[in-house]
C-alpha cells in the first residue's frame, strides 16, 4: 500500500505535464553549432531549401547539403519556389534565380530582401526600405510609398482571395511597418488601399509582420509586431478584421494554417499552436527562448521550424505525448479506458487511476486482484475485469462485484466491450453477453453465451469488437477470427484458408474494413470479400500485433512490442513510430489491447516513458517518398541536365539521385534500370551509379524510390539520352563511301582503258610509220635507185661512194632506232632527213633542192613525231617530177609553233602507185598525242603541209 502511494505520488508529479508534441533538432553543421535560419521553402521534389545566415542549404530528410550556387555563404534572407525554379533573396539586397545547376541574378536592391512571392504575373520582391519590386520578363516595376504603399519597409506579401466576390478575385496584400496595403489592378492601373490603426483601430499595431492566405480560406492571417494576430477578410471594397485579445508571444513571424482552425504561429517567443479545442496563447510555447522565423508543414505532416538556432521539426499534427518522466515505466500498464467526459483511466496491477489532460493522475481504486481490462460505458460506469476476481462495476466511486453470472464469478477476465445497452465480457469460459440498463446502476442481466459450445471455435477470446452494424467480432486463440451477426456465427480459421490461428485484436476502420492483428501472421484486412495480409515486407515493424485501433481519419494503428505502425489509407503506406524517429519512443506495453480512443478521437498508446497520443490528421499526409535526379555526370563531371545528346566517345555516363522523405528516410529503397541497355531493375542502397562504356544508342535511365522492398508505391525520376554512333558506324557514311569509291574506281578504269587504247593506237600508228618508212626505203625503186647511184659513184668517186654507203646505213639504223619513240626533237628528225636527202640528192643532183629555214633553238627545244618530215619529203619526191628541166624544190621552215613543208606541185605523168597512208599516218599519230592538228593545202601550184611542233 505504501508502495502504491509512492507510485501514485510519482505519477501525480509527472502527469502534471501537459500533452506535448515531439520535437527534434536537425543539425545543420558538422559541429552542430547553431545557425540562424531565416527562411525555407520546399521545391518540386520535396527537398527543403534553407536560407541561413551562413548561406543556402538543402535538406532531404537525412542529409544537409550546402548549395554550390551560394558558395560564398552570403546570408540568405528570403526564399521562394515555383516548380523547379528556386528564388533566393539575400541580405545584401539581390535576388538570384536557380534552375537546375544554373544561377542567374534577377534583381538588386539597396536593402535586404525580406520576402519573395512568385505570382502568376511575375515575381514579387519585398525589401527592407525600398518597397516592392515586380519582376517580369519585360522589366522591373517598383511600388513604393510614392505609388501608394503604406511604407517602404515590407515585411510580408500574400495573394488574397476576395471574399463574397461572384468571380474569383485576387488582391496583393503587403504587410509593412505602417500597416497593410491592399493592391488591386483595375483597368491596367494599380489601386491601393491602406489598412492601419488610424482607420482600423482593431489592427492594434501598425507593424504588420506577416500576411498569409490559405487557398480557399475566406479570411487571412495577419500577424503583428506587438499585438498578436488578427483574421482579415477582404471584401470587394471593404474589409473586416477579427481580433484575438490576449497575446504574449511577442513579434509574430509566420503562421501555418490547417483545416479545422488548427494553426501554428511562429513568434519571437517561440512556436505556439492552436489545437481544435481553442487557442491558448498562455500555453508554454515550443522552442521558448528561440526566435522562430518560419514554419512549414511537410507532406508527411511534420511541422518544420526555422529558428534563430537552426532547423527543428515537430510532430504536433499527428503525434503528441504525455511524458511520465524517466524514472517511471508504463510497459506494464495493464488496461486503459476513456470515458465520455474525456477522462482517461488506466490500471497498473491492482491500482486504478484516472487523469485528464494537464491534470494529475489520481488513484481511484485498488482492486483485490490484478486488473486485466477496463471499459467505460456511456452511463459513466467503469467495468473492471480482474484476474481471478471476476467482473467489477464502478459507479460514482462505488465498486460492485458482478456476482449473478455463473461464468464470471471469481473468473479470469480477458476483455470487456460494450455498445449501447449491451456488454460483452470475455473470460476463460467464453463470452457472456450482458444487458446493462441505462438506469445508471450496476445492475445487469445475462443474455447469451458465446463459446466453443455455441460455435465460436474457442473459449479463449482475446478481444471483443462490436462493429457499426451490430456484429460482434471475436479474436480467438487457436480458432482464428469469429463473428456473430445476431443469428449465426461466421468463422475464418484454418479450415477456410485463414492462416492465423491466434488473433489478438480486431477493429473496424472508418471505411468499414475489418482489421485483425495476429500472432506472427501480421495484420489482415477484410473488405467484405477477401483478406489482404500486411507483413514486415509491407512496412510493418513486426508480424505480431498486440493491439489495434482505428482513427477517425481512416487510419489504423497497430501496436507491437517495439513500436507502432499506422496505416495511412491515402498513401497506402505505414507510418512507423519507433526509436528510429529519434524521439525516445522505445518499448511499448507488452499487454494485449492496452490502447484506447478518447472522445476527441485521439488514440492513447502507453509506451515506456508515457502515453503516445496519435491524432487524426487534419490533412491526410502524403507519405509517399519523392525522388530527384540531382546530377548527370559525364566521366564523373556534372553536365547540364538539359543536355540529352552525347558524342560517340562521351560514353561514361553517371547519375546521382536523392530520395526525399521526412518521416522515415531510413526506409527508402532504390532501384534503377537503363532502358536500351537490356537491363532489368537493379536494387541498390547507393544514390549513384555509373555506366562506364556505353555503346551508341538511345537510353532512358529510370530510378525509383519506395518505402519498402516491394516498390508498391514508388516515386520515379527518369532521364532520356542518346549516345551518337561513331562516323564509321552510321549507314549513310558507308553508303557515301561506297558510292564515292565506285565512282573513283569507274573513273580510274575509264582513264586506264582510254590511255591503254590511245597507247595501242599510237603504237600501231608508230609501227605503221616505221613500216612505211622502212617499206619506202626497201622499196625496190628506192633500193634500185640507191644502188644505181652507188654503182656510178664507185666508178666516178670511190670516196663519195663509201660516204654514200655510210649515209645509207645510218639512215636505216636511225629509222630503226626511232621506232620505239613517240616524239623526237626536231633536230634529230632533221639529222635523219639530211641522211635521206643525201641519198636522194646523190641520185637527183641539182634536180632536188631543199631549202630550210629554222633556228637552232627550234631544232633543240621543239619536238615532232619521228619520220614525219621524211614521209613528207618522200611523198613530194614520189608524186612530183624531179628532173633537170623541172627541178623539185622543197622548202622546210619552222617557227616556234609549226614546221611547214612546201613544194611546187608538178605531178608525175605516171604516178607511182600510192598506198595513201603516209599523210593519214601522220595525222593519226598527231591526233593521239595532241589536240593540235596538221593542215594541208594545195593552192598557187604549191602543196603545203603544216605540222604543229610539240
Amino acid at each position: 500500500m505504501r508502495c502504491l502511494l509512492f507510485l501514485a505520488l510519482l505519477l501525480s508529479f509527472s502527469f502534471a505535464k501537459a500533452q506535448r508534441p515531439f520535437l527534434r533538432d536537425i543539425p545543420l553543421t558538422e559541429s552542430g553549432a547553431p545557425v540562424r535560419v531565416n527562411d525555407m521553402v520546399f521545391d518540386a521534389t520535396g527537398s527543403l531549401w534553407l536560407g541561413t545566415a551562413q548561406g543556402l542549404l538543402r535538406y532531404n530528410g537525412r542529409t544537409v547539403t550546402e548549395e554550390p550556387a551560394n558558395s560564398a555563404r552570403r546570408p540568405v534572407s528570403a526564399l521562394a519556389a515555383q516548380g523547379n525554379v528556386i528564388f533566393v533573396g539575400f541580405e545584401e539586397g539581390h535576388v538570384l534565380v536557380l534552375y537546375g545547376n544554373k544561377a542567374r541574378r534577377l534583381f538588386s536592391a539597396a536593402s535586404r530582401i525580406t520576402c519573395l512571392l512568385p505570382a502568376p504575373f511575375g515575381l514579387l520582391v519585398g525589401t527592407a526600405g525600398d518597397g516592392i519590386a515586380l519582376i517580369r520578363s519585360e522589366g522591373i516595376y517598383r511600388l513604393t510609398t510614392e505609388s501608394g504603399l503604406s511604407d517602404d519597409y515590407v515585411n510580408g506579401l500574400a495573394l488574397a482571395s476576395v471574399s463574397s466576390a461572384p468571380e474569383p478575385e485576387t488582391r496583393l496584400v503587403a504587410a509593412t511597418d505602417r500597416g497593410i496595403t491592399v493592391i488591386r489592378a483595375e483597368a491596367g492601373r494599380l489601386r491601393s488601399t491602406i489598412i492601419n490603426t488610424r482607420n482600423t483601430p482593431a489592427l492594434g499595431d501598425d507593424i504588420v509582420r506577416v500576411v498569409r492566405w490559405q487557398p480557399g480560406d475566406p479570411a487571412g492571417f495577419v500577424g503583428t509586431q506587438a499585438a498578436g494576430f488578427r483574421l482579415l477578410k477582404i471584401g470587394k471594397e471593404d474589409w473586416t478584421l477579427t481580433s484575438f485579445p490576449s497575446w504574449a508571444g511577442g513579434q509574430i513571424n509566420d503562421a501555418v494554417l490547417l483545416p479545422g482552425y488548427q494553426r501554428f504561429i511562429a513568434a519571437e517567443g517561440g512556436l505556439f499552436y492552436q489545437r481544435r479545442t481553442g487557442m491558448n496563447s498562455n500555453d508554454d510555447p515550443v522552442f521558448a527562448g528561440r526566435s522562430v522565423h518560419r514554419i512549414l508543414r511537410s507532406a508527411t505532416g511534420n511541422v518544420l521550424v526555422a529558428t534563430s538556432e537552426g532547423l527543428s521539426f515537430l510532430t504536433a499534427e499527428y503525434l503528441e505525448h504525455i511524458d511520465v518522466g524517466p524514472s517511471y515505466n508504463l510497459r506494464n500498464l495493464s488496461a486503459l479506458a476513456a470515458d465520455r467526459t474525456g477522462t482517461r483511466w488506466f490500471a497498473q496491477d491492482k491500482a486504478l487511476f484516472s487523469f485528464d489532460t494537464g491534470t494529475r493522475a489520481r488513484l481511484r481504486y485498488t482492486a483485490p486482484e490484478s486488473i486485466t481490462s477496463l471499459y467505460a460505458d456511456i452511463h459513466d460506469r467503469i467495468w473492471i475485469g480482474t484476474l481471478g476476481g471476476g467482473l467489477l462495476c464502478m459507479k460514482d466511486g462505488q465498486v460492485h462485484t458482478v456476482a449473478n453470472v455463473e461464468n464470471l464469478r471469481g473468473g479470469h477476465i480477458l476483455h470487456i466491450a460494450g455498445r449501447g445497452d449491451t456488454l460483452w465480457v470475455s473470460s476463460l469460459n467464453g463470452v457472456e453477453e450482458l444487458y446493462i440498463p441505462s438506469a445508471g446502476t450496476c445492475a445487469q442481466r445475462a443474455l447469451r453465451h458465446h463459446g466453443r459450445a455455441s460455435g465460436v471455435g474457442s473459449d479463449y477470446i482475446y478481444q471483443l469488437y462490436p462493429d457499426r452494424r451490430g456484429h460482434l467480432w471475436m479474436a480467438t486463440d487457436g480458432a482464428g477470427l469469429a463473428m456473430w451477426d445476431g443469428s449465426r456465427y461466421h468463422r475464418w480459421d484454418s479450415s477456410s484458408g485463414f492462416a492465423p490461428r491466434v488473433v489478438y485484436s480486431v477493429v473496424e476502420d472508418e471505411l468499414g474494413n475489418i482489421w485483425a492483428g495476429t500472432l506472427e501472421n501480421g495484420l489482415l484486412r477484410w473488405d467484405g470479400k477477401t483478406w489482404k495480409t500486411f507483413r514486415r515486407e509491407h512496412g510493418l515493424q513486426s508480424n505480431t500485433i498486440l493491439s489495434l485501433a482505428a482513427l477517425r481519419d481512416g487510419s489504423v494503428v497497430a501496436v507491437n512490442e517495439g513500436g507502432a505502425d499506422q496505416w495511412l489509407p491515402e498513401s497506402s503506406e505505414f507510418r512507423q513510430y519507433s526509436r528510429r524517429m529519434g524521439l525516445h519512443i522505445d518499448s511499448f506495453s507488452t499487454v494485449l489491447n492496452a490502447m484506447v480512443m478518447d472522445t476527441a478521437g485521439d488514440v492513447l498508446v502507453p509506451y515506456e516513458h508515457g502515453f503516445l497520443i496519435i491524432k487524426p490528421a487534419a490533412q491526410p499526409p502524403d507519405f509517399g517518398p519523392r525522388i530527384a535526379l540531382r546530377t548527370v555526370e559525364l566521366f564523373f563531371k556534372p553536365v547540364d541536365t538539359t543536355r540529352h545528346r552525347f558524342a560517340p566517345d562521351e560514353n561514361g555516363i553517371g547519375f546521382r539521385w536523392e530520395g526525399v522523405h521526412f518521416a522515415s528516410p531510413e526506409r527508402l529503397h532504390y532501384r534503377y534500370r537503363l532502358r536500351g541497355y537490356g537491363q532489368g531493375w537493379i536494387e541498390t542502397g547507393d544514390e549513384s551509379v555509373t555506366f562506364p562504356r556505353l555503346p551508341a544508342g538511345r537510353y532512358a535511365f529510370e530510378v525509383e524510390a519506395a518505402l519498402g522492398p516491394d516498390f508498391r508505391r514508388a516515386a520515379r525520376a527518369s532521364y532520356a539520352f542518346q549516345i551518337a554512333a561513331p562516323l564509321w558506324k552510321r549507314w549513310w557514311f558507308w553508303g557515301t563511301v561506297a558510292v564515292a569509291l565506285a565512282g573513283i574506281g569507274y573513273a580510274l578504269l575509264r582513264r586506264r582503258d582510254h590511255a591503254r587504247q590511245r597507247l595501242a593506237t599510237l603504237q600501231q600508228a608508230r609501227l605503221r610509220a616505221e613500216y612505211e618508212g622502212l617499206k619506202s626505203q626497201v622499196n625496190p625503186h628506192f633500193l634500185f635507185n640507191s644502188l644505181n647511184t652507188l654503182m656510178s659513184l664507185i666508178e666516178e668517186d670511190p670516196t663519195a661512194a663509201a660516204r654514200y654507203t655510210g649515209q645509207l646505213a645510218d639512215l636505216y639504223r636511225d629509222t630503226l632506232a626511232f621506232r620505239s619513240r613517240d616524239v623526237v626533237a626536231l633536230g634529230e628528225e632533221w639529222a635523219v632527213l639530211q641522211k635521206y636527202l643525201y641519198i636522194q640528192q646523190s641520185r637527183f643532183g641539182e634536180a632536188l633542192r631543199v631549202e630550210t629555214n629554222f633556228t637552232d633553238d627550234v631544232l633543240r627545244d621543239r619536238r615532232i613525231i619521228p619520220l614525219a618530215l621524211q614521209l613528207l619529203v618522200e611523198n613530194a619526191i614520189k608524186h612530183n617530177e624531179v628532173s633537170r628541166a623541172h627541178p623539185l624544190t622543197i622548202s622546210i621552215t619552222a617557227t616556234a609553233e609549226t614546221v611547214t613543208v612546201r613544194n611546187i606541185l608538178r605531178l608525175k605523168a605516171s604516178p607511182e602507185r600510192s598506198t595513201g597512208t603516209g599523210l593519214d599516218n601522220i595525222r593519226n599519230r598527231y591526233a593521239l598525242l595532241t589536240p593540235k592538228t596538221i593542215s594541208t593545202s594545195r593552192n598557187d601550184g604549191k602543196f603545203t603541209v603544216v605540222l604543229p611542233l610539240l
Binding site: A128, Y153, D177, R178, R198, D206, I207, Q225, A226, Q251
Partner: protein, 161 residues
C-alpha cells in the same frame, strides 16, 4: 524638425563581480516629424564615470575600439504617428538601424515622448547584447562585464530653426 538640445546617455553593466556605469551628454540628433524619421549619434569616447581611468581606457581600446568605430548611431523611423503640438505622454516605437562597434542591427526600440508646456523630452531604455555587435569579452574579465548592457537615454528636443 527637432534637434537635441541636451541629453544624457547612460549604460549599466551588472556583472557578478563588478558594476560598471558611465554616461555621456554628447548626444546629437534630429527628428523629422513630417517624414517620421530620426537620426541620433553619440561619440563613444565621450563616456565618463567608469570605476577607474584604466577601466575607461579598456572600454575604449579593448571593447569598443573607439579609435576604429568612434560613433554609436541609431537612424530610422517612428512607427506611431506623433503630434507634438499638444501636451501629453506618448509611448511610441522606433525602428531602425542601430550601429555600435561598427556592427549594424535592425532594432525596434520603444520610447516615451513627453510634451509638457511645449517642452519636448524623450526617454528610452533598452538592452544592447555584446554578442549582437561582435564585442568580445576577454575570458579574464568575463565576470566583470555583463553580456547585456542596459542603456538609458534622456533627451530634450527643441525645434530647429
Amino acid at each position: 524638425m527637432f534637434k537635441v538640445e541636451s541629453a544624457q546617455v547612460s549604460f549599466f553593466s551588472k556583472a557578478p563581480k563588478e558594476l560598471i556605469e558611465a554616461s555621456s551628454t554628447d548626444l546629437r540628433g534630429v527628428l523629422d516629424l513630417a517624414k517620421g524619421s530620426f537620426a541620433f549619434t553619440v561619440d563613444i569616447a565621450t563616456f565618463q564615470g567608469f570605476n577607474s581611468p584604466l577601466q575607461r581606457q579598456h572600454f575604449n581600446e579593448n571593447y569598443m575600439e573607439s579609435a576604429v568605430h568612434p560613433l554609436a548611431q541609431y537612424t530610422g523611423k517612428i512607427i506611431e504617428s506623433l503630434d507634438l503640438s499638444r501636451d501629453g505622454v506618448f509611448p511610441i516605437r522606433t525602428k531602425g538601424k542601430f550601429t555600435v562597434h561598427g556592427v549594424s542591427i535592425e532594432r525596434i526600440v520603444p520610447c516615451t515622448v513627453t510634451v509638457k508646456r511645449g517642452k519636448v523630452s524623450l526617454h528610452a531604455e533598452f538592452i544592447v547584447l555584446l554578442l549582437d555587435h561582435r564585442i568580445k569579452i576577454p575570458r579574464v574579465v568575463y565576470d566583470k562585464l555583463a553580456p547585456e548592457i542596459a542603456v538609458t537615454v534622456n533627451a530634450t528636443l527643441v525645434p530647429r530653426s
